[in-house]
């Protein structure tokens, strides 16, 4: 199995009485762009959390790069190249945008983090600025996180995840908490940046227009199961999906 392919097989997860994942099986090829849809509690975020190690599946296999990563701690999964963003952007509020980026850079640097090398030496800042510019938030570099708009926070969140060698990027509701008029520009920015690097993208989304426009393939979740796995037009016109997920004809 070539690296970069994410192979999820028969994954189960229950929280007490609630079934969050039932026989989840899906195979995500290198470089493709998947979106996950479904009502709240359908199992989208659980899926993301299991793949990225926040939750340990009760059973099943998550194959990546030829090894089963199910149950590994986030730290190790990240080191393997699977990165994620968060519904609520996870940033360091006491640090500036640039410093946040420097943290990511320090951890993802070619060598182990040094106790001597200045965190803000020219080279490190260069790298940080480059990433910030790639996501078009360089002008905010000296501001503290709480001063930022929802959109910028999201971008920084993703930019930090992208500081390392990323093969798969899972975006958990990249446009939630983002002003309506910012949603599309942000998605353009992110998807282009990721596509250019040949990163496999899996994003959770409620806005069907975005799903339609950016994803090559859609996984529809309902009650912890995948009820549809196909191209957007097929899935969104699926009657079952309309009944349980989108709620209205596409």
């Amino acid at each position: 199995m070539s690296s970069g392919v994410l192979e999820v097989r028969d994954v189960q997860k229950t929280f007490g009485a609630v079934t969050a994942a039932k026989d989840i099986s899906v195979s995500v090829p290198q470089g493709s762009i998947y979106s996950l849809i479904g009502t709240n509690g359908a199992g989208k975020t659980t899926f993301v959390n299991m793949v990225t190690g926040y939750i340990k599946p009760d059973a099943g296999i998550i194959n990546f790069g030829g090894r089963n990563i199910a149950g590994l701690p986030p730290r190790q999964i990240t080191r393997l190249g699977i990165h994620r963003s968060f519904q609520i952007a996870q940033l360091c509020n006491e640090l500036t945008v640039e410093e946040n980026m420097l943290v990511a850079g320090a951890i993802h640097g070619q060598t182990r983090p040094s106790f001597l090398r200045r965190s803000d030496d020219a080279q490190a800042r260069e790298r940080a600025m480059a990433t910030l510019e790639r996501f078009d938030i360089a002008e905010h570099r000296n501001r503290l996180i709480p001063e930022l708009s929802g959109g910028v926070k999201k971008l920084l969140d993703i930019a930090m995840a992208m500081a390392g060698e990323t093969q798969i990027m899972l975006l958990d509701e990249p446009t939630s908490g983002v002003a309506a008029d910012e949603k599309f520009p942000i998605m353009d920015l992110v998807i282009n940046a990721l596509r250019n690097e040949g990163v496999t993208v899996i994003f959770v989304e409620h806005d069907m227009d975005i799903v339609n426009r950016y994803s090559e393939r859609v996984l529809a979740f309902y009650d912890g199961q995948i009820i549809a796995d196909d191209t957007p037009d097929v899935v969104l016109s699926d009657t079952e999906v309309q009944r349980y997920v989108t709620g209205a004809p596409a």
């Binding site: 959390n49 926040y54 968060f86 519904q87 609520i88 996870q90 958990d172």
Partner: protein
Amino acid sequence: MDLVATILVDGLIYAGWLFIVSVGLTLVFGVLNILNIAHGSLYAIGAYASASLVGAYFAAGGDAFPYGSYIAMILAAVLVAVVLGPLLERGLLRYFYGRNEVLNVLVTYAVFLILEDVMKLIWGVNPYFVYEPYTLLGTVEMGSLFYVGYDFAVIAAAIIVGLAVWLTLNRTQIGKVVLAVIHDAEISQTMGVNVKRIYLGAFMAGAFLAALGGALTAPMISVTPGLGVNVIIVAFAVVIIGGLGSVPGAAIGALMVGISRAASVHLLPEAELFIIYFVMAIVLVFRPEGLFAKTQARKI
């Protein structure tokens, strides 16, 4: 009377006392999220107040009805809570809500230092005694041993206090509100709960319990300066073991400490000094948040 039984009785008596002095601490932490070192001072002040009040009671011819001295003791605890509760909570602690909990430990440490000297200024360094309440209930013979009836009264008091706190929290309207505040003060605020009043109430309750502990202890000791410092760490250990903010936890913690201490006194006297910290360390190693701590997962 055989050893095991003795250990259990002694452990129980000590645990009863421990519970009374530590339940207030855990309550205050649960609601205000402040680990209150000044709890020890409130304990000491309670002891002084009850010594003075009971003394005054007998001076005023209380011998006619000596049992009235128990009422005087409880009155003393109430007095401490009513006077110092608002003073400390409204006057000082409220400015530190939401701040770092270790910083708050230091704030209360400062209060502790201040109160230590304030007590000296009010009561001087000479000891206060009030034995009457201690001997009033006579002695109980168990096998070859004599126990003081008062010791069992303390156990009873501990049980009453425990039930009262638990029932108030779990069976009353106000209790539900308090639990809501414990769970999330901000949300409760938005839902129209007067968090201010809850905080004040909880702190006064904690102060009352601390003072009550002192008031109940006063008759069996001589009330002297430096009384508080010895209580704090013990109470800390108990609530840490039981899990901060958990009333049942405080009960279990008190029992564990009480009985292990009794056992060590009877079987291995050398170990008594640090048996408490030993139990605490062991528990924390296996249950990092204490026995009854509630761990909440983080939404991401």
